[in-house]
Symmetry: C2
């Protein structure tokens, strides 16, 4: 039975249904809170035990005054992207007695073992995962031990009860494309991230919706999938510029890819935005530092970290959350990398 629960984790809702209680009550029992009737607690614990869940984690203590901790888990804590999310998490923890512990999974074997050891020690009270999806081993371990977690910017599918925070990728991409359309551009390319990312699919959708709304045809030759990196984006840009009817503007999947567009133009002695307009996505700190300063869609990474932490704290306290999935707004930050299309005006 334990093996089965590993493969297909039990959701809080399933436990609640099986025990005939509400989801917050299950959470309360898991968090060893005292405000649950003994009979109810026993019923929930029985359901959990039957499915191989570990309820009484050794050493775990949630009493006031004792410092507690949450794990921040990311395959790539090295990136500025993850760093910004981490800052938001730190911000939200300021007012609490909780500490964030970084658990990058970059060095897989060693880190994972250490981390699971720590889970077994009961020293983790909750977790925030960055870019995880349902295949994540970490997520499965957390579920098995009924440790509350929230996923920031999930890379793919999650369970129906899993909490997540993401940016309005579709709306952000639509706003970026609308901005270029308003400047008179009609040949607008999209230089996106890998297609297996949920964010990429949502951004492609927003781009297509803007074109559709403007009555423009969708040209598959203008859509490229890169690897989020600048160098590959520079190569893709070169290929786009070599088309018989090249784009006059590019919507890039992230700021690094936008800088790849800059590089491709610089190599050809062309200029942004005179020869080509560019919009990025993320608004990492260097977007404002480069010349021309990058017009980009701000992904509220800091806020995403902050909101994820607030949701996690509620979950840990057994309080209800407003929504299992929260999308935060992505404003367009207009700077210097877009100009009116000379071909159209």
């Amino acid at each position: 039975m334990a093996d089965n629960s590993w493969d297909r984790p039990l959701t809080l809702a399933e436990v609640a249904a099986a025990a005939g209680v509400s989801v917050p009550t299950v959470s309360k029992v898991i968090n060893q809170r005292s405000d649950v009737a003994p009979a109810t607690r026993e019923r929930v614990q029985r359901v959990l035990a039957e499915r191989g869940y570990v309820v009484n984690r050794a050493g775990r203590s949630l009493r006031q005054g004792k410092s507690r901790q949450i794990d921040v888990i990311s395959q790539d804590l090295d990136s500025y992207y993850a760093f910004q999310i981490l800052r938001g998490i730190q911000d939200a923890l300021l007012a609490t007695d909780l500490r964030a512990v970084l658990a990058s999974t970059h060095d897989h074997r060693r880190r994972e073992l250490q981390w699971i050891q720590r889970l077994a020690d009961g020293s983790t009270d909750g977790a925030i995962l960055i870019l995880a999806d349902h295949t994540s081993l970490h997520l499965q371990e957390l579920r098995r031990r009924a440790i509350p977690f929230v996923v920031v910017d999930p890379a793919g599918e999650l369970g129906p009860d899993d909490l997540s925070v993401t940016a309005t990728n579709w709306a952000g991409a639509k706003a970026a494309t609308d901005h270029l359309l308003a400047l008179g551009h009609r040949r607008i390319a999209a230089l996106l991230g890998p297609p297996d990312f949920a964010a990429t699919r949502a951004r492609l959708g927003g781009y297509r919706a803007a074109l559709l709304e403007a009555g423009l045809p969708f040209d598959a030759r203008l859509v490229r999938h890169g690897d989020w990196q600048a160098e590959r984006a520079a190569v893709e840009t070169g290929e786009l510029l070599a088309l018989p009817d090249p784009p006059t503007a590019i919507f890039a999947g992230n700021d690094q890819q936008a800088l790849g567009v800059y590089r491709a133009l610089w190599r050809r002695d062309l200029r942004v935005p005179d020869d080509l307009s560019v919009v990025g996505f993320d608004d990492l700190p260097y977007a404002a530092l480069v010349t021309p300063a990058l017009t980009t869609v701000r992904q509220p990474l800091l806020e995403m970290g902050r909101v994820a932490t607030t949701m996690l704290l509620r979950l840990m306290a057994g309080e209800p959350v407003d929504s299992v999935r929260v999308e935060l707004a992505t404003p367009l930050i207009a700077r210097e990398s877009c100009a009116a299309s000379r071909r159209q005006v």
Copy 2:
């Protein structure tokens, strides 16, 4: 007496001298290690107690198996600079059972109180401070409680026994200036950080040494002190370009200031490196992403974090360190932002 020790902290060497033992022995006693003769331990503890030091911190435990933690303290954990150091610290802790806890002092009142509370709880086994100097309250508190610490990139003076890790700022600045001299530049400006930073003074020294070695006069009008930010650097660059005999190259105090130089040129429709060569300092990830890619002096931030952690671990274990001050090499990374001086060649 306690008040006095707050104002002028006791050094490990002073305790060792007063107790007639070696510095590692003092460290062993502080770390409650068992391999110290009882009489020796008592002597050291008496000296510490006389000076108001807290030796037996409640709840402290250094036995194997119990997870321990070190604090990372910085006024500005938000910056990419501090983030890179943090990554190095995390790397070095991978092989240990220690965890890093971030204790940014950005939000002064709340954070400091929390932090001191945690010290009192005995939950901190060591600390790494970024950019601290002898005026740091944190540093004073750590000394008072005899908690081992290492300072990364000290902003100013430290005590003679305080461990620190820094970059070879002098040599890095000299290499940067030498690089420009080798390209035929003779009017080389230095656009540095605030003069009260130890790093700024060392970099100014390296710049001057290179000029001296090349037999060039030092022109005070070519040296500017900014605030490490791009915008101010852009203004300073404008002023330098307006000089009767303007520079043909600029050595910038950090990568952000170098991007300020880029901006000043872009505003004037001038080009890097055709119209002005630029060298930065730090080699933050965006240095390679911008166009032209920035030639810069690599500050080994990651390695600095790693080495500081290794030193701290030795100190915590009562083992001798090779040197109280370690300087790590700063290689020049030649990219695209420097060209031969047209005025000289």
